[in-house]
Symmetry: C2
Subunit: 150 residues, 2 copies
DNA sequence: GCTAGAAAGTTCGTGCCGCGAACCGGCGGT
DNA sequence: ACCGCCGGTTCGCGGCACGAACTTTCTAGC
């Protein structure tokens, strides 16, 4: 199988899993992604647009809906009266943590038939691709590899 | 980087590339995907739902819009008066071929910094994941590796 | 200081997407 | 001949993403 085909199909798979996990947590995939991005710290709207690859107006809507559900909050930026800092509410932080953990678990399980070595190799190669192509931090890397204290 | 993080981020990347390629061909990503699936042969609506992972009603809409743009056609199934076979129009087939080729090229180029060996390993590992998880044929594998007459 | 313009966000209108519920007509077993 | 299943469509809903136009605030240049 060509590398393009492999990448496209695996993306399809990961998306499906991500979407299902979102749905089961009462989130849309976009909201799930927003929560994950906000986990480490608050972001400005434009900054979020850059990370998520969305237009400003798209962000307004996404943050509106997420705020309406009590997941995030718009705080005024103390340094710039125009700007806004989008932060998780405590409820949002709770859900984000849960969603992140469960999604990580499920995506990991997609590679459960690979042995430890293969998983490491796969991670390393994908990490290289991700790095080379300057992919923004759309999914954290916390305890991601709480790993093997080999 | 954990395997989950690597998979999620690379998916994000591939999606972005896929979406951009679609847009530049005047397609939505869903329409592009539909065209790619239909390249080898016509499909029934339910069958398409299975492959794309969509509800019946979602398919109706997608096929409607694609048909309106002259990309696909609904043909009656000669064996079953209820059923329908969705097929590419000649225009649709032309665009599909173009879109497929360009998208393959771009996705491949995401791994351009990997040497031939690494690319092969990456393909093999992803193919394994895709196979183990029964991912439907959402992206063909034609001349996928027409490559290098080294 | 003042003003021209850039930057941060919002609003608005449009089209696409995905879903479930309800529905219709053909198919098939009994 | 009937009744249940199956393939598809319709409808109404909410979410998503965009560009264009607009408001307010910041900042450069003079």
């Amino acid at each position: 199988m060509g590398v393009a085909t492999a990448l496209v199909r695996s993306s399809f798979l990961v998306n499906a899993v991500y979407a299902e996990s979102s749905r089961e947590h009462g989130l849309t995939p976009q909201q799930g992604q927003l929560l994950c991005v906000l986990m480490p710290r608050p972001y400005g709207m434009s900054e979020l647009g850059g990370v998520l690859g969305l237009a400003k107006s798209s962000l307004t809507g996404l943050v509106d809906r997420s705020a309406q559900r009590g997941l995030v909050r718009r705080e005024p930026d103390p340094e710039d009266a125009r700007a806004v800092r989008v932060a998780l509410t405590s409820e949002g932080a709770r859900l984000a943590k849960e969603f992140y953990a469960e999604t990580t678990r499920r995506v990991e399980s997609l590679a459960e038939n690979l042995d430890e070595t293969d998983r490491r190799v796969l991670s390393a190669l994908l990490a290289r691709v991700v790095f080379d192509n300057r992919v923004p931090v759309v999914f954290m890397d916390f305890g991601a590899v709480p790993p093997a204290q080999s």
